[in-house]
């Protein structure tokens, strides 16, 4: 009996030792990345993680989709409060202000320097990087998946009215819409209430501010001003076309989104993200000829760069040194030109660094379908040096402000309030949200 017990003990000890030596030989340092993309795009991010894991032996990144951008932030906050946060989290544009003020992160620049990586921070395309950088231009996070809005147009429909080029001004859009309507097209131009396209891109391209203090970059006491800019003219313009019947609203509640309506050939022009470029390629009616162009401007306007959309990757604070080493290696990996090309190939997103973009241009990546046209997004993002109103929007409670604006637009297009009155109210309610945010972070400064 005694012998048996001793034998068992010996067995246990040896197997334990064996396990330990095995582990040290193979154990990689694991760390987590929580992302907000799902479906096809979520899978593509997982592919990026897999490529990183295959590229080296020291670290293993575990990428977990949280369901949506909102949930990635919500879940990270809950986890952070419980000290169970991931090492890296993907945070969308509108979540940037809260995180910057929280101090709950490891700034990108310091992270890379502390772990022996030299990064040329100027490699990032300015129009992309500034959206996530501080007012002084320092990056706290790594730009990752980036997009901007483009103008989509149906070449077949244009051919019917004898046109071969996309409209360059909104005035032309109006004329073409009227011609298309006369030619029997029920929905010449489709739009929706999404403020990212209607308000944010329009304002940036036309050099119009959304809020004071450089759209909020210079301080928490910024105030909304979009009820006093050319954005008002734009809403009036859309309203006029809508009332005339040459512009149509397409949202999921009406039965088809702008993308679906355009892809089905029901609507001939629209504006939406370049990230949808791949989707349209897949859902477009067989044989349909379509293309993308820069978003139009009002005649006589000097074009300014458009705004980036998408998300950046943040390293959260409170993790171990090893995990940060892994995170730094991962950030280094995704900025390689090959990685950028890979991610742009499998998604509609555009590269975020100049070397990455240049390498892809040189290879002729954008010369043929299905990628042809996506380079226009970069041309639009870099149409000018970023100005104080086109580098980005840094407003607290911006999700709620977008919602208030969207609600105002819905009232305006339902004829329940005038354009000016509706936007005035959105600004007033938005400013209340800003003041509440300022009070929540009393005594703190935006970096």
């Amino acid at each position: 009996m005694k012998i048996l017990r001793r034998a068992a003990l010996a067995l246990a000890v040896t197997s334990l030792l064996g396990a330990a030596t095995d582990a040290s030989a193979q154990q990689r340092i694991k760390f987590e990345l929580w992302q907000g993309l799902t479906g096809d795009l979520g899978e593509r991010v997982n592919d990026v993680c897999k490529r990183f894991n295959d590229s080296q032996k020291e670290f293993e990144i575990v990428c977990i989709s949280q369901g949506s951008y909102d949930e990635a932030v919500q879940n990270s906050i809950a986890a952070f409060r419980a000290k169970k946060q991931p090492t890296i989290v993907q945070v969308f544009d509108a979540g940037t202000a809260d995180l910057m003020l929280s101090g709950a992160f490891y700034p990108a620049k310091r992270l890379m320097a502390d772990h022996g990586h030299t990064v040329d921070w100027d490699r990032y395309i300015k129009g992309v990087a500034n959206y996530y950088a501080t007012s002084k231009g320092e990056l706290y996070s790594f730009p990752f998946n980036s997009s901007t809005a483009l103008f989509y147009w149906n070449k077949d429909a244009f051919a019917k009215i004898g046109k071969i080029e996309a409209p360059k001004t909104w005035e032309e859009v109006e004329t073409v819409s009227r011609q298309l309507k006369a030619a029997g097209y029920a929905c010449p131009f489709a739009f929706e209430y999404d403020t990212w396209q209607i308000m944010e891109q329009f304002s940036a391209i036309h050099g119009q501010p959304i809020a004071t203090k450089g759209n909020g970059y210079e301080g928490l006491d910024a105030e909304l001003v979009f009820n006093k800019t050319r954005f008002v003219d734009y809403v009036k313009f859309l309203k006029k076309g809508y009332d005339e019947g040459i512009f149509a609203i397409k949202v999921k509640e009406t039965g088809a989104t702008i993308g679906e309506a355009f892809g089905a050939g029901d609507c001939q022009m629209t504006q939406m993200s370049v990230a949808s470029h791949g989707t349209i390629g897949k859902i477009a009616k067989p044989g349909m000829n379509w293309d993308v162009a820069m978003l139009p401007v009002f005649a006589g306007t000097q074009r300014v760069n458009s705004l980036v959309g998408g998300a950046s990757l943040w390293a959260l604070s409170g993790k171990s040194k090893d995990e940060y080493r892994g995170a730094a290696a991962f950030f280094n990996f995704i900025a390689l030109p090959e990685s950028e090309e890979y991610f742009s190939t499998v998604t509609g997103y555009i590269p975020v660094t100049n070397p990455g973009f240049k390498a892809m241009m040189d290879k002729g990546f954008y010369n043929a379908a299905p990628f042809k046209g996506r380079e226009i997004a970069l041309a639009q993002l870099t149409a000018s040096e970023p100005t104080p109103v086109s580098r980005g929007i840094r407003l607290g409670g911006f999700i709620q402000i977008r919602k208030e604006t969207r609600d105002a637009l819905q009232l305006i297009f339902a004829n329940r309030v005038g354009v000016e009155a509706g936007l005035d109210q959105a600004v007033e309610r938005g400013n209340t949200i800003l003041r509440r945010f300022e009070k929540t972070y009393a005594g703190k400064q935006l970096p």
């Binding site: 929280s102 409670g397 609600d407 972070y441 009393a442």
Partner: protein, 294 residues
């Protein structure tokens, strides 16, 4: 001499209660306590700090006219959806109880909708009611703009009431049918022998005996409609157009989870909680008096 079983020690009783008490504490009192704390502070979402602000959060929501309209909309929704769901369920249960031909099949079929997840049901209803693509698009071709929940707030409200009631018809149906089957057959048969018709027997025998079930369902339906409408709204309308379907619970979700305004959302949940508690108390005090359990 009565023979009663009872526990000799208090401790055994307490030990048996503890697991349940722990569950209630963890999943009800703790979150409520946290919400109560947040409601009186301004909380930074990432946990960077919070400051006590007294009743400021409550003042802020009570001064917002849109908040009051969300309260009114919640009440309209609660009453309309509950009455619709209970009315249809009661009618169907009464006829199902008569055991008409094939009743076993539609009894099963009627129970199914409750097993459908709210978002799935909502996607179906969004399609059915879509003005340009759904079943109603045919109507709109004949009478343009007759139905457009994407632009008209009243239409959107009707849509979420129907979608929500559809799901609860199934739930109510089960209870009504069980209630009806618990009524002794002899009573109904006696009525029939005395020459009472079908409708007369329903009105004078079955419905009065069903009042306890009716009361129970009324409380459940009203309470649930305040908190369970979220899934339907999020998928069909997202609270729009222009806040027309933003009920209290949806506003809490939006402000708290999407807008990261934890304190404002916490204050709103406290108000919602008090409202639901208040309604339930009123029902028990005034409606229950009219109920005869025997």
């Amino acid at each position: 001499m009565e023979n009663r079983a009872y526990f000799r020690t208090v401790w055994l009783g307490i030990a048996l209660v503890v697991p349940q008490a722990l569950l209630v504490l963890t999943f009800f009192y703790w979150p409520t306590g946290a919400a109560l704390f947040w409601a009186f502070t301004l909380e930074q979402p990432w946990g960077g700090g919070s400051q006590f602000v007294g009743f400021d959060n409550f003042v802020a929501i009570f001064e917002d006219s849109y908040y009051w309209s969300s309260v009114v909309r919640s009440l309209i929704f609660a009453v309309a959806a509950s009455l619709l769901a209970m009315g249809i369920a009661l009618t169907m249960a009464l006829f199902c109880d008569r055991q008409l031909r094939g009743y076993a099949y539609y009894r099963t079929a009627l129970v199914w909708p409750f097993a459908v997840a709210a978002p799935a049901a909502a996607v179906a209803f969004r399609y059915v009611f879509a003005p340009e693509a759904g079943v109603f698009s045919a109507l709109n071709q004949i009478y343009p703009n007759l139905w457009n929940p994407a632009m008209n707030g009243n239409h959107a409200m009707i849509m979420i009431i129907i979608a929500y009631a559809w799901k609860y018809v199934a739930y109510n149906f089960i209870f009504f049918l069980a209630g009806l089957q618990a009524i002794p057959r002899a009573l109904v048969e006696a009525g029939a022998i005395d020459g009472a018709g079908v409708l007369r027997r329903m009105r004078d025998i079955q419905l009065p005996l069903l009042t306890p079930t009716f009361f129970f369902l009324l409380v459940i339906n009203l309470t649930d409609s305040f908190v369970d409408s979220f899934g339907i709204i999020d998928i069909t309308t997202e609270g729009g157009p222009a806040k027309a379907t933003t009920l209290m619970v949806y506003k809490i979700y939006f402000d708290g989870f999407k807008g990261l305004d934890y304190s404002g959302a916490a204050a709103q949940s406290i108000v919602l909680m008090l409202l639901v508690i208040g309604l339930t108390v009123v029902q028990f005090r005034y409606v229950e008096r009219k109920i005869h359990y025997k």
